[in-house]
């Protein structure tokens, strides 16, 4: 069971459906918010805590699938659970590929829905955690000067100080100084730790010079 600050949004044009879902989720101790249309939901500011959206596929105005596309286009990462009275397989496949948590045909078993909600909220929580770690790692990396960042990138590819100097046209000694500052600023002691930070920051891993795919000599 997730923390009580988790929010479940329901978007459905059918009033009785909304009402029954509100009760079901309330009975499962979820906080809920009801919307009669997808556009109503988009008027609400994004939720900071873990959340998920239960959305009806067939609705007047913006339908479920179009709503999902809109979110992806605007880089919103709400976890979506689709419910539908007459979904078909292509529609389902499309929604799942696009990252939906589940696609439930009505009538669904209430537990099925609740499990999906649980999963969606877990994904949401994890997402939030990853986002905070990413933000932290990015904040550390932003402390580096441009020169230190260049050195860091080459070090991350496994080059020796001498090689880094050669690449950047500086003395080995200077490289050592930049490297030390870099390690200090990132509060790390090894290259392995550097790699973890880069991963968390979701930065594209640097490529070692001479090993770029277009430079690999053919056998």
């Amino acid at each position: 069971m997730m923390s009580s600050d988790a929010l479940v949004f329901v978007i459905d044009d059918d009033q009785s459906m909304r009402k029954s879902l509100a009760r079901l989720l309330d009975a499962a101790h979820y906080k809920t918010e009801m919307f009669t249309s997808a556009s109503d939901f988009l008027l609400r500011s994004a939720c900071a805590g873990p959340s998920c959206v239960i959305v009806d596929v067939k609705m007047p105005g913006l339908n479920g699938i179009a709503f999902q596309e809109f979110l992806i286009q605007h880089s919103r990462d709400e976890q979506l659970i689709f419910i539908t009275a007459h979904g078909d397989i292509p529609m389902c496949a499309k929604a799942m590929k696009a990252g939906a948590v589940d696609f439930l045909p009505k009538p669904f078993k209430p537990n099925q829905l609740l499990e999906s909600v649980e999963r969606a909220l877990a994904r949401s929580t994890e997402q939030l955690f990853r986002a905070s770690e990413r933000d932290h790692a990015r904040a550390l990396l932003q402390r580096l000067t441009p020169r230190e960042y260049e050195v860091m990138e080459l070090v991350a590819t496994g080059l020796l100080n001498k090689q880094v100097g050669g690449e950047l046209g500086m003395a080995e000694k200077t490289v050592k100084t930049h490297r030390a500052h870099m390690m200090q600023k990132l509060r790390i002691t090894s290259v392995a730790e550097l790699m973890v930070i880069l991963q968390k920051a979701e930065v594209t891993p640097p490529v070692r010079p001479g090993l770029r795919p277009d430079c690999i000599p053919s056998a």
Binding site: S16, M17, R23, L24, A27, P110
Partner: protein, 736 residues
């Protein structure tokens, strides 16, 4: 001067004058040989007269004998020229007799010179002088020569010859001439001989005056000849008059020929001279005033037709017949024209030379029209056949050959029944006479399937259109024959695929219906389950109060009722055959129908046009029923235009919405429209104007429209045709 001298010289002079005149006549017209013969005769008579005078004035018996001997020369000439004159002038007399006369006379002339002093006398003893016309003239006395009979017999033969010739002229009908010429010759010849005999045999005592008799003969013949001249002059006058008439006639003929654009020509086979009218020169583009030879004329004829044209002309000349031919000519400017030529060979008056008379007409336009007609017939995409009022085939095009497998020449002249299966043949003869009784363009054998029979006996379905054509030679029928086996096959395929489409659309509608049913039912069912589950949870958590439970249960009941209503609706729909309520976009319905009914429209050679109102609100209703209603109206529209010309066969389907809460759908055709009587009963059940109709279509439409809370009307549209218009209320929610 004595009387004798005066008379003899005068008569000789008269003879010479007549001779000169007739000689001039002959000189002018060499064909007038009779005049020449007369001229010689007259000269001979003059000579005879002169010698006779010498005879009378002879001093010695020797002198007399010599003159009497020489007198036989003009006598011979007289006889010979008389014979020739009779032959030439009368155109009669036996040839052998003529020669006998001349032969006998010649013999006497020879004997005359053999005997001394002449044929008349053996010996001339002293002359006697007697008084004649108050003058002393010498007459011979002596021993007559019996050979003299030869000379006399020649005169007798001459008489016989002339009588014979006169008889045949008499018989020929020219009695005047027979009497005048024949009679005078006989009379004067007989009297002359008699006188000479009497004188010679000294029966009478007078000098020889034979020349006077001959002068009488000359006078009579001269009279006869001048009568001819007078007659010829009057003939010439009459000829002149008739020539003027002839010229007038000729002018008229020329005018008529010109008006008819007829070129006239004449060809003389003896002289090979060709005379052509100005029109011929114009037609053949020959320069004026220059004589044209037959060869030049032939050169104008198209090389391909040249031999044929020459052959018919030569044939006509040989057999003295007529001919007709159509040929092409190549003009100097290179243009080719078609000519129709007709000729007639006329024997000339004398039965020897012949003339070929002909007319020529430019028939290029007609030929071009014929060619055009043939080309058009050949180019016709269907089999084309021309038959006369007896049903005999006059013309076919290549398609007919192809369709039936016969060659053209195997069909021409056969009756059209030849191309039909035998089971049609007998009745077709009757059909044909009916057609000619009331000829009008129509399709043959309307209402039943027609078959053609190929050469190999196989049959194939055909469609035959008949067009009567009134020609100057009577009524002919132009039949166009189309092999419709492919079309029938295509129609069969189209019919099947239409059935399939209908089936498919039914199936897909059923699928949609099921889907919509599922949606409708699942919604309340899901809500019920959710509510029940929530209630259970609350109960387990011990936080369910009575108020909340009542609310939940009320909602469950509401959802359950909703589900029951849906089910009830479905049941009634199934019972009625439909009545599934859904939200319908009438534009979609119209589009679906346009698509579905397309095969029918093609079969009816009809276009369907749609005029869809943009952004149509939805209506609530049964999609299948609404579709059924519109389909019925469109089918009715198609049927209503069966007899309309193809260009007018259009069905217009339009949707209207002007925001007043109802959507209008109009289906309009361009057929005959609706009569007032029909309109009153239009929507009644079992009322129909179609032969095979049930009278259900519009009744169903009305019940569907009314079941959806709508209304339907029918009226005649502007510009002809019927217009059905129904209005259906828009869904309340949409309006809200």
């Amino acid at each position: 001067m004595s009387w004798v001298t005066v008379i003899w010289w005068m008569s000789a002079g008269a003879c010479l004058t007549l001779a000169f005149l007739q000689f001039v006549v002959w000189w002018r017209n060499r064909a007038a040989q009779a005049n020449l013969a007369f001229s010689i005769l007259a000269v001979a008579v003059a000579a005879f007269a002169a010698l006779e005078l010498a005879l009378m004035q002879a001093e010695t018996p020797e002198q007399l004998g010599t003159v009497a001997r020489w007198i036989h020369v003009p006598a011979w000439v007289i006889v010979a020229s008389l014979v020739a004159f009779v032959r030439l002038y009368l155109g009669a007399g036996r040839r052998w007799l003529a020669w006998t006369v001349i032969g006998a006379r010649t013999l006497s002339l020879i004997l005359n010179f053999v005997f001394s002093p002449n044929i008349n006398y053996r010996q001339i003893t002293p002359l006697r002088h007697i008084s004649f016309l108050g003058e002393s003239v010498s007459i011979p006395t002596g021993v007559p020569n019996p050979w003299m009979l030869v000379a006399q017999s020649s005169l007798l033969l001459l008489v016989i010859f002339v009588i014979d010739a006169a008889i045949s002229v008499w018989r020929r009908g020219d009695r005047r001439r027979a009497v005048m010429v024949g009679g005078s010759i006989v009379f004067f010849a007989v009297t002359a001989s008699a006188q000479s005999l009497a004188v010679t045999w000294q029966i009478i005592s007078m000098p020889l005056t034979v020349s006077l008799f001959f002068q009488g003969l000359v006078a009579v013949v001269a009279w006869e000849l001048s009568y001819d001249v007078v007659r010829a002059a009057s003939l010439a006058r009459r000829l002149q008059a008739s020539e003027a008439g002839l010229r007038e006639f000729e002018e008229r003929v020329t005018l008529a020929a010109d008006a008819a654009r007829l070129g006239v020509w004449e060809f003389d086979t003896d002289t090979s001279r060709l005379w052509v009218s100005d029109k011929v020169r114009e037609l053949f583009q020959f320069p004026r005033e220059i004589e044209i030879s037959y060869h030049e004329f032939q050169q104008r004829v198209h090389p391909d037709d040249r031999v044929a044209r020459d052959q018919v002309a030569q044939n006509a000349i040989q057999n003295q017949t007529d001919y007709e031919i159509e040929y092409r000519v190549v003009l100097p400017d290179g243009k080719v024209r078609w000519m129709a030529g007709r000729g007639r060979c006329l024997p000339a008056g004398d039965g020897k030379s012949t003339r070929l008379l002909g007319v020529t007409m430019d028939i290029t336009k007609r030929k071009q029209a014929e060619e055009l007609f043939e080309l058009a017939t050949e180019a016709s995409p269907s089999g084309t056949l021309l038959a006369d009022d007896q049903g005999r085939i006059v013309l076919v095009n290549a398609h007919v050959e192809e369709l039936f497998g016969y060659r053209r020449d195997e069909l021409i002249g056969k009756t059209v029944e030849f191309l039909l299966p035998e089971r049609f043949g007998a009745s077709h003869g009757i059909d044909r006479s009916n057609f000619f009784g009331a000829p009008e363009a129509r399709a043959m054998g309307e209402g039943r399937e027609l078959f053609g029979r190929r050469k190999d006996g196989s049959e194939f379905p055909v469609e035959i259109g008949l067009n009567p054509i009134q020609t100057p030679h009577g009524l002919v029928v132009l039949a166009s024959i189309v092999d419709i086996s492919e079309r029938l096959a295509a129609e069969e395929v189209a019919r099947r695929s239409r059935q399939q489409v209908e089936l498919l659309s039914r199936v897909s509608l059923l699928g949609e219906m099921t889907a919509s049913l599922a949606h409708e039912l699942n919604q309340p069912l899901a809500a019920i389950v959710n509510n029940a589950t929530a209630a259970t949870q609350y109960l387990e958590q011990g936080r369910l109060d009575a108020e909340q439970l009542r609310e939940i249960l009320a909602d469950v009941v509401e959802d359950a009722r909703r589900a029951r209503d849906i089910m009830a609706n479905v049941r009634s729909a199934i019972k009625k055959g439909a009545a599934i309520r859904g939200r319908i976009n009438l534009n979609d319905v119209v589009k679906a129908i346009t698509h579905m009914i397309q095969p029918d429209a093609i079969a009816h050679v009809c276009k369907i046009r749609t005029f869809l109102a943009p952004q149509l609100p939805l209506i609530e209703g049964d999609p299948i029923q609404i579709q059924q209603a519109v389909t019925n109206l469109v089918r009715n529209a198609l049927d209503a235009m069966r007899d309309a010309p193809a260009s007018r066969r259009i069905v217009e389907i339009a949707t209207h919405y002007n925001g007043d809460g109802a959507i209008g759908v109009a289906v309009r055709d361009f057929g005959a429209g609706i009569s007032e009587i029909t309109r009153q009963r239009l929507f009644e059940q079992f009322f129909t104007t179609k032969e095979d109709g049930l009278g259900m279509g519009l009744a169903i439409v009305r019940s569907i429209v009314e079941a959806h809370g709508g209304t339907i009307t029918a009226d005649n549209a502007e510009g002809g045709g019927a217009r059905f218009y129904f209005r259906l209320p828009v869904t309340a929610e949409v309006l809200a």
